[in-house]
Symmetry: C2
Subunit: 283 residues, 2 copies
Amino acid sequence: MSDNGITLYDLQLASGATISPFVWATKLALGHKGFDPDIVPGGFTGIAERTGGKTERLPAIVDKGEWILDSWLIAEHLDAAYPDRPTLIGDPGIRPSAQMNEAWLWQNAVGPWMTCYLVAYRDRSLPQDHDYVTSTRERMFGNRKLEDIIVGREDRLPQISANLELLRSTLRENPWFGGETPNYTDHRLLACFLWLASVCDTPALVEDDPLRDWIDRGFDLYGGLGRHPGLSNIFGLQIRDGDPEPFNRNPVANGLSKRNTGVASTSGETARITGKATEQADA
Amino acid sequence: MSDNGITLYDLQLASGATISPFVWATKLALGHKGFDPDIVPGGFTGIAERTGGKTERLPAIVDKGEWILDSWLIAEHLDAAYPDRPTLIGDPGIRPSAQMNEAWLWQNAVGPWMTCYLVAYRDRSLPQDHDYVTSTRERMFGNRKLEDIIVGREDRLPQISANLELLRSTLRENPWFGGETPNYTDHRLLACFLWLASVCDTPALVEDDPLRDWIDRGFDLYGGLGRHPGLSNIFGLQIRDGDPEPFNRNPVANGLSKRNTGVASTSGETARITGKATEQADA
C-alpha cells in the first residue's frame, strides 16, 4: 500500500491500460487530488470476487478502510474528505451540467464510436473477458456479430467527428470546462476520449482537430495518465472526397459565445443580420 | 429610480413582455440577487438611441452609473459587486458547461421553434419593429417569407419536444441545474422557455411533459417573473397518430445517471446486459 492509503480497483485491457471511462474519470480525479493510488488490476471477469462481493461494477476505491463504489460518489468523497487539496466539484451546480454534457457526449460520440471499435474492444480485452465482451455487446447492438456491427465505420467516423462541434465551440471560449484550470467536468469528458484511445484501432479524429489542444493537455495531466503505452493515437483520420467536414473551419461568433462590450463588438454581426455586410466583409 | 439603483434596458413585445432570451436571463439574475430594477421599455428599434450610443444589443444595465452591456458580464458583475447576496455563478466551472448546455438547447429547440413561431414573433412585436423582425428573420432563414417558414409546424413540434430528453434526464436526478437551488445555468435555460412563451401562439409541449415541473418552478421564481400576462401557455400540444412520442415514457437508468451503492443497486442493469432478465423483470 502506498503511503496515501487509497486503493483503486481498475478495469483493464490485456495491455494494462484502463478501458472503463468511469475508471478513467476516477483516475483523473485521484490525480487531481494528488493521490497515487495502489492499483488492483483486472478486467470484467471476477469483479465481485476481487472486491469481496462489495460490487459488480468499477471503479471502487478503499480509503482508510472505507469502500466507495461509484465514480461520482468517489469524487464527492474526495472533496469532502480532503478539502485542503485541489477541488474537483467546486459548486453544487457543477454536477447537473457535467452529467448533461457527458450524456450528450455518449449519445453523439461514445455510442457511435462503439459501433466502430467493438472488435478491437474485444480483442484487446483480457483473454478471460473475450466471451463476456462479445456476448454483452452483441446483445446491446441488436444481437448482431461484432464483426458485422463495425462494417462501414470509415463512412461513419467523419460524421461522428462533425457531431462534436458543441465541445469545440465551448473550448474556443474556455481553456478547460473548469475555467482556467481543469475540474471534474473535464475529467468526465476526457475519460470518454481516454476510453476511445483504449479501443481505437484506426483514428477517430483528424490531425488538426481543434479539440486536440484540450485533449493533449488533458492526457498529459497528473504525470501523463493518458500516455499509457496501451493507448492508441486517436488523431490521423483520413477524410475522403464526399465525406462531411470533420469540424467547422469557419465558426461564426454570435450572442451565445461573444461578449457585448459596445457597438464595435457587435457591428459585424449586425451587418450580417441586416444584410449590410459585403461578401468581402462576411469572409 | 428604485432604491437599489439598478436600471435595466428591456427588449419587449407590444404586450410589454420581454422577448429576448438574453434579457430574460438578466431579469432572472437580477431577481436572484434580490434586485427590482427600473425598467427602460422598448423594442428592437432605437436601442442605440435609448442607450446614448452605448450598445446596439440588449440587455444593458446601469448600476450606480456603470454600464454593463452583456448578459454574462452582467451576471459576473452582480456576483462581484454583491457577494453578500445569493450567488449566481459559484465556481469558474459553471460558465463553460452552461454555455455548452445553452448552445445545445438553441440548436435543438430554440432554432427549430423559431421556424414554428416567426409569424407570431413579428405580429406580437412593437409596430415599429415589424419591418425589422420580418426582414432580419427572413434573411436568417434563407430569404423565405415568414408565412412560408412556419408551414408544417404541426409536423415538427412533436419531434422538437422529443429532442429535449437530455434536459429531462438531467432533471430526473437534480431539482435544478444549480443543484438544490437554482443558479445562473437555470436562468440561461429557463430564458429559452420564457422566450418560447413570449412567441408561441400554439403550444410546444404536451401537458404532462416531465419538464413542466422545473419550468413551472422556474416561471414562478422571484415573484413570478415568468407569469407576465403577455406570455402564452407553452403546454397543451396535441399528439396525433403517427407523431413521435413527445418524451420518453420509459427511461432506463444506467451508469451515467444511477449511483452504484452495491450489488443490489446494479443487479437489474446486470440482468439486462447479460440477457438474464425475464420480460417481467425488464418491464
